[in-house]
């Protein structure tokens, strides 16, 4: 990745050490050595004595009712310890889900008899070995009463429901569109897309006592998980320990407690034995929800010289028949361009599917497909280069909120990305470039993601040997949390990064909000920074005032550098020597970044166990967002219609990058997921029974190594201290946004064919 140094500094909220230190520089991944040796222990790999194995059984109809289940053959199967279904399982308490859907009943089993989608959990089998559990599960005899299935929102009887709170309006779009000399009117669709983290979902549930539960679970949210189980199983929050030191990919799928986890916890409680449940790969498409299928229609009106006068947008996404999930399709539409007249409406279409969920940049990713393809169509209609059209409509402020941007270096993204790509040589007409039988096309699109923030908490310990521990229940799913928190503490305390040991992913280590919305890095470096500063002050006070300190009364203050403490121009000693001289075994400091004020402990906890403290892009008097511009070359085989992405240049404005190498990895990861979205990924559902037809890695295609070209990332961001305390903006989800439309636009440029439904496959181009 190329880092473009900003020409202006925007002020500096941190002290000098932070600017010169390791934070912001490349440092090898702290959790890397364990991962390359196969020594990183993921949830299902913890060794617990007496472990039993649980298999989840899912419905094979899409709608109707479970009439009866004959468990006898299963129960008689070798090694079976327990068979649970709707007719014999205990009832547990249900609470509203994270999207605000109220439960149907206050108390119920985890196995509904009313079937609302194909793949719904209807039973579970626990046995001594995984093989025995699988065999026994196959012997379960389920009698269903089937009802008609509305499999997708393509069904004729589909009805939609408006989501009024998503409506956005300003100006008079109808009048502006009526008068606009040029109007684009087009509709775009995206299919169901699935997270497919490589690590299977699963957990080990271990009741160490009647009211003490330890969960080894792959989760993006330790405190949210503990809080859910505390409420559901009605035991104190403090009695639940959640352990998740490594998370093998999440992408939004491991944020919240899912039905299969509840099943495993229930089985373990009943058997008084630890129970392991791993979802089979095919179950990852239905045991929890992913990105719903979406449709958008857009009308964009513009003047002949390419000034946008109005946007009228309508979006619809699939949801479950009994619960609402909103994929916010207007979330990017309103943010990218200077639009004086605007309307956006959202609706949901209930169908027989698992409730969809958050998948990398939820809302933003499909939203960008609509607006960024439509802008490309507008450019074509106007005969203006699509990059030039975007420059002419750059938004000098957030037209949605009316507020100024905290920072927006999108024009710098355009300059840097276009130059690196060689965009200026692009012919305007499609189908203008070829290499033998390959048609070559260049396309571009913009992505954006809000800076979301919640309060954090951190504990920092300076130990007697001078090493430092940073502790938090925050998690690292490959996002770099271990590394950047070590870098943060190292800078503040003036020790080498190698002397900082970061411990994460365990509820005994403190509290943290969800690793989602690309918020965790910013909030945790902020919390660790604040805590480390407090620890540093305590260490300096120890040196200055302790009767046994050799540094006592030597100066007004002491400095910390390279693991040593001393006077600015005098003698220094190692931190370990000072600790020994003063007889201190450790300095142990915990701080949080909650709003000021007194609050009872349960109020405080809510900041970490719920979304109570979460703030979106608009905070105070500014609108906080990351931006990027993707430039893509595709090669389309004229005879076969195959599309290959041959070159990607992306310029990003994600503020200050705490570790450019790790940020580079995340940007590339988002781009690669975007390549999959544009060309490969599509969940296909049988219209007769709502069953997923391609629930495996051979048929649900994700990008492989051979699908991915070299990717060139340029960072043009500068520290944005109006966005976050240490100047970073959103990183993890940014670069998937806009990637699929950039490819679609490149395919149009190569072939002259506008494909408005993803993924773009060969049959669209022949």
């Amino acid at each position: 990745m190329t880092i473009i140094e900003p020409t202006t500094k925007r002020g500096d909220a941190s002290d000098g050490a932070m600017v010169r230190g390791t934070l912001g520089s490349i440092h090898v991944r702290a959790d890397g050595p364990a991962k390359i040796r196969g020594e990183a222990t993921y949830a299902l790999e913890h060794r617990i004595d007496g472990l039993l194995h649980c298999v989840l059984v899912q419905s094979t109809i899409g709608a109707g009712r479970v009439v009866s289940i004959d468990r006898s053959a299963t129960e008689a199967s070798p090694g079976v310890r327990l068979v649970l279904d709707a007719f014999n399982a205990a009832q547990v308490k249900w609470i509203p889900d994270y999207w605000g859907n109220a439960p149907a009943k206050d108390y119920d089993t985890p196995f509904p008899t009313e079937i609302t989608f194909n793949g719904q959990a209807i039973a579970a089998v626990v046995a001594d070995t995984p093989e025995q559990a699988r065999e026994a599960a196959a012997r379960l005899a389920v009698v269903y009463e089937e009802a008609p299935v509305r499999a997708t929102f393509d069904a004729e009887d589909t009805q939609t429901r408006p989501v009024d709170m998503m409506a956005k309006d300003w100006g008079d779009p109808d009048a502006a569109l009526a008068e606009a000399p040029v109007v684009v009117d087009a509709a775009y669709e995206t299919p169901r897309e699935y997270h497919m983290a490589l690590e299977p979902h699963g957990l080990i549930a271990h009741w160490e006592d009647d009211d003490r539960l330890t969960l080894y679970e792959s989760t993006q949210w330790i405190d949210g998980t503990a809080n859910w189980f505390a409420q559901q199983f009605e035991i104190p929050f403090e009695n639940i320990r959640v352990v998740s030191p490594y998370v093998g990919g999440g992408f939004g799928s491991k944020g919240f407690v899912l039905p299969h986890s509840i099943v495993a916890v229930m089985a373990a409680r009943q058997l008084r034995r630890p129970v392991k449940l791993a979802l089979q790969r095919s179950q990852h498409f239905t045991a929890f929800g992913a990105r719903p299928a979406t449709r958008q229609s857009l009308k964009i009106g513009a003047t002949e010289d390419g000034r946008i006068v109005a946007i009228d947008h309508q979006g619809t996404n699939e949801t479950a028949v009994d619960k609402a999930f909103v994929e916010q399709l207007g979330s990017v539409t309103a943010l990218l361009y200077a639009v004086p007249n605007f309307r956006s409406r959202q609706s949901i279409a209930p169908v027989h599917t698992v409730l969809p969920g958050a998948f990398r940049a939820p809302g933003k990713t499909p939203s960008a497909v609509g607006i960024e393809c439509a802008i490309d169509e507008l450019a074509g209609k106007l005969g203006i280069d699509p990059l030039e059209l975007r420059r002419r409509n750059e938004a000098d402020h957030d037209f949605d909120s009316g507020l100024p941007w905290s920072s927006r270096r999108l024009m710098a993204c355009y300059d840097t990305g276009a130059a690196a790509f060689g965009w200026s040589g692009r012919p305007l007409e499609p189908r203008s470039m070829r290499d033998g039988h390959q048609l070559i096309g260049w396309g571009m699109a913009v992505g954006t993601h809000p800076v979301i923030s919640s309060p954090g908490e951190a504990r920092v310990r300076i130990l007697s040997d001078g090493t430092v521990e940073v502790l938090s229940s925050a998690i690292d799913m490959g996002t770099g949390t271990y590394t950047i928190l070590a870098q943060t503490a190292a800078d503040v305390l003036g020790v080498p990064v190698e002397m900082v040991d970061v411990k994460l992913g365990d509820s005994t280590l403190g509290h943290a909000p969800v690793a989602g919305g690309s918020q965790l890095a910013n909030l945790m470096v902020g919390a660790v920074y604040k805590t480390a500063v407090a620890a540093r002050e305590e260490l300096i006070a120890l040196g200055l005032t302790d009767p046994n300190s050799p540094l006592r009364d030597q100066a007004n203050t002491l400095t910390l550098s390279e693991g040593r403490i001393g006077t600015p121009r005098g003698a220094t000693m190692s931190i370990a020597q000072l600790m020994a001289a003063t007889g201190r075994s450790e300095i142990d400091v915990t701080r949080d970044t909650l709003p000021d004020g007194e609050r009872p402990p349960e109020e405080r906890l809510k900041y970490f166990t719920s979304m109570a403290g979460m703030e979106g892009g608009v905070r105070g008097e500014v609108s906080r967002h990351s931006f990027c511009a993707h430039f893509v070359e595709v090669r389309v085989d004229e005879d076969f219609g195959t599309v290959r992405v041959s070159r990607v240049v992306t310029a990003v404005d994600a503020g200050r990058l705490y570790n450019p190498k790790l940020a580079d990895s995340q940007f590339k990861g988002g781009i690669i997921m975007g390549i999959g979205m544009a060309l490969l990924e599509e969940g296909v559902t049988d219209p007769r029974n709502g069953r997923m037809l391609n629930a495996n890695f051979a048929d649900y295609l994700v990008a492989t190594n051979a699908d991915v070209p070299e990717i060139d990332i340029h960072s043009v961001g500068e520290p944005d201290y109006d966005a976050t305390p240490l100047g970073g903006k959103a990183v993890g989800e940014l670069a998937i946004v806009g990637m699929a439309p950039a490819i679609a636009n490149a395919v149009y440029h190569a072939t002259g064919k506008r494909v408005r439904r993803l993924p773009i496959t060969m049959e669209n181009l022949l």
């Binding site: 090898v28 364990a34 070995t129 995984p130 497919m196 790969r281 799913m477 492989t704 190594n705 991915v708």
Partner: protein, 165 residues
């Protein structure tokens, strides 16, 4: 079918005797019976490559092989790749230096495939590396850095071979 069978496996140079049902996959035998969890289960259907190991020096998918099929054979897993003194294998070191992973779950399989990709003589160009590493899925999207790591390790291997010659 479910009567345990005695098998002898040599894993990372150490002999193990196991009594497993014939239906137990080599992957489950490694992970559940022996506690060698460095070899990962991603799909259990031979579609993701996370369980790639070496059997008698060849890369194999442990989820598509029954443990009884491995009776008497020599197996290398990610835990056995480093030198006896703990020095990482050059491919492991290259993965670390190039940041060729994020969540790390596919990483052991990627590394085992990469060692074979180089040994098989299929690391001659970036395109060739991409092709011969495409049996290993990475959802985090570390592919460009995986290619860089394999290229780096392959070049180092070539240099060592030339010095030795």
């Amino acid at each position: 079918m479910t009567d345990p069978t005695r098998i002898d496996l040599t894993i990372n140079g150490i002999s193990h005797t196991l009594h497993v049902e014939p239906r137990v996959t080599l992957l489950d035998a490694l992970r559940e019976n022996l506690g060698l969890t460095g070899t990962k289960k991603g799909c259990d259907h031979g579609q993701c490559g996370a369980c790639t190991i070496h059997v008698d020096g060849e890369r194999m998918l442990a989820c598509l092989m029954l443990a009884v099929q491995a009776d008497g054979r020599a197996i290398t897993t990610i835990e056995g790749l480093a030198a006896a003194d703990g020095t990482p294998h050059p491919v492991q070191q290259a993965f670390l230096e190039e940041d060729a992973f994020q969540c790390g779950y596919c990483t052991p399989g990627q590394i085992m495939s990469a060692v074979s990709c180089i040994a098989e003589g299929h690391a001659g160009s970036d395109d060739e590396i991409r092709e011969y590493m495409s049996g290993n899925l990475c959802r985090c999207g570390a592919y460009p850095h995986i290619v860089a790591a394999v290229r780096k390790a392959a070049e180092a291997e070539t240099d060592r071979a030339q010095e030795a010659a």
